[in-house]
């Protein structure tokens, strides 16, 4: 770097803010930090984690993510074959070394081929076919607790439903959900300096091995689902290498499990703290459930942000970026910007104009967004119907230590007036749902099968 460049660099990074979302107090200070950045520096340079930009303002995040695709790269160039970019995590996690995080760490056109292969399994029309199947799964989870008057919403409901459903869509036996569940969540909530990190790493490795076994099995014995779609995907006239596909499968599990758990548990907790609003949501569900869902998505932003690399010198939202700069797009902070959201720190279930960024913006919009919304709504409805008076126990509630990646929850115990069972428990129901899935070929893409799932009494 020449002296002139160095001066130019100092000049362009003159708006600085010390930002460290991995810090233990970021969760507690999230609103203060957000307010301060919105007021003083909607885009700032931070020297933390190797130095990177942080976009916090709604307009700034929008201009970058939705309108500047030609200047942003998601590429994670693990073998240093292109420009050595580091993908979407800041800092790049040690665990992810040597593997791309699927198409979320790719740029078009490559990224587009993968999405085109998976879209017909994940579109609104594709997901709505599963609703009776999902309802039956939720019913069984609730039935296992309903007579006792006690539930841990995370462990007994909102961990299980996304896990089993994600596996069903993939074409992996749903009874194996426990193999994936703990490692998928623990890999997110365990801080890198925790004494438990080694055990979690081991669990994660075992999960990866099991996943590879399933992948190899489906390759030999094709069965419908996302795994099969990827094996057969046409990636610019070629089949994808196994290593890339394992990265994609990891992305589907990482994206499918922890995020919906995070959204649902926070909404359930908020509704416990606001029982009048809970009654209103139940009463006015036909008109309120959609907007309430979007509001919980906005307010609790499960995936708090994503990293990018600037791929060409550019000026966006008044900032001069240089090729190679790292950038953090904070969906969570963009979602609290008073310039776009009136009283942004309040949950308003009937909020209008809720153009939140919780599924990201631009070409990388969360491909599972329709899964997340549908699972959330189907779980909330049965909770409202079957345990309308539940009270969460703040003493036993455990939020993630940090909100560096996912704004999640580990435990959410609650009590409620016991009620009668409606059917068999989870274990028996998983067997039945597997049969339904196989016999009705539910995991086929919507282009092949349009009919809704049928669950016999």
């Amino acid at each position: 770097m020449s002296t002139q460049d160095a001066i130019g660099d100092e000049e362009r990074k003159k708006i600085k803010y010390h930002f460290d979302r991995h810090a233990p107090d970021y969760r507690e200070r999230f609103e203060d930090i957000t307010h301060e950045m919105h007021a003083k520096c909607p885009i700032a340079w931070t020297d933390t984690h190797g130095g990177h930009w942080v976009a916090a303002g709604n307009r700034e995040v929008f201009e970058l993510a939705a309108r500047s695709a030609e200047f942003l790269s998601n590429d994670h160039d693990v073998n240093n074959e292109r420009r050595g970019y580091q993908g979407i995590s800041i800092p790049a996690p040690a665990r992810g070394k040597g593997r791309r995080g699927g198409f979320l760490e790719m740029d078009p056109p490559e990224q587009r081929y993968y999405r085109q292969a998976l879209n017909p399994y994940l579109s609104p029309a594709a997901i709505s076919r599963w609703i009776p199947w999902i309802d039956e799964l939720v019913r069984a989870c609730i039935d296992d607790r309903i007579e006792s008057g006690r539930i841990d919403f995370v462990e007994d409901l909102v961990n299980i439903v996304p896990a089993a459903f994600t596996l069903a869509m993939m074409g992996i036996p749903i009874k194996d959900w426990t193999v994936y569940c703990e490692p998928a969540h623990a890999a997110i909530y365990t801080p890198l300096d925790s004494p438990d990190i080694e055990r979690v790493g081991q669990l994660h490795m075992q999960m990866g091995m099991e996943l590879f076994k399933q992948f190899a099995h489906i390759k030999e014995n094709p069965r419908p689902g996302l795994v099969n779609a990827l094996i057969n995907a046409d990636i610019n006239g070629q089949k994808a290498p196994d290593m890339e596909l394992m990265g994609v499968l990891g992305l589907l599990i990482g994206g499918g499990f922890d995020t919906t758990t995070a959204l649902s548990s926070h909404a359930i907790e908020w509704l416990s703290e606001n029982p009048a609003e809970r009654e209103r949501l139940s009463r006015e569900r036909d008109t309120l459930l959609d907007s309430a869902t979007e509001e919980f998505l906005r307010f609790y932003t499960p995936a708090v942000g994503d990293g990018r690399t600037i791929s060409a010198d550019c000026e966006v939202a008044g900032v001069r970026f240089k090729e190679g700069d790292r950038l953090w797009l904070s969906w969570a902070m963009a979602n609290r910007d008073p310039a776009v959201f009136e009283e942004p720190d309040q949950v308003k279930m009937d909020r209008e104009g809720n153009r939140h960024a919780s599924f990201g913006l631009g070409i990388h919009r969360c491909i599972g967004s329709n899964v997340a919304r549908t699972l959330f709504k189907r779980m909330i409805l049965q909770v409202l119907d079957r345990m309308p008076d539940y009270v969460c126990d703040p003493e036993g509630t455990v939020h993630y230590d940090t909100i560096s990646v996912i704004n999640g929850m580990r435990y959410l115990p609650a009590t409620f007036t016991p009620g009668p069972r409606l059917g068999p428990g989870l274990e028996e129901t998983l067997g039945k749902l597997q049969k339904v899935c196989d016999e009705q070929r539910l995991a086929e893409p919507v282009t092949v099968r349009k009919k809704r799932a049928e669950i016999a009494g």
């Binding site: 929008f62 939705a66 085109q116 879209n119 017909p120 579109s123 609104p124 029309a125 594709a126 959609d290 907007s291 979007e294 209008e352 104009g353 809720n354 153009r355 939140h356 960024a357 599924f359 913006l361 631009g362 070409i363 919009r365 967004s369 329709n370 919304r373 919507v446 282009t447």
Partner: protein, 66 residues
């Protein structure tokens, strides 16, 4: 009122179809939105305005008020 969805900008967030289900249809394969007809049926204008204001990608535009 006339309504347009910019196909280069739509990313399939589906909020428009929640706000105005009779005006926007979502593609079966990728969930991207397009208006059923460029002409907004009488009485649905306020739903469409609400959809415009909800679109995360700012991909929807309208002409005229009624």
């Amino acid at each position: 009122m006339k309504v347009k969805v910019d196909q280069a900008l739509c990313q399939g967030h589906t909020l428009c179809a929640m706000k105005a289900p009779d005006v926007f249809e979502l593609d079966d394969v990728d969930g991207h939105s397009s208006p059923v007809s460029p002409e907004v049926p009488a009485g649905l204008e306020s739903q469409v305005v609400s959809a415009v204001r909800s679109c995360p990608e700012r991909a929807i535009s309208v002409e005229g008020t009624a």
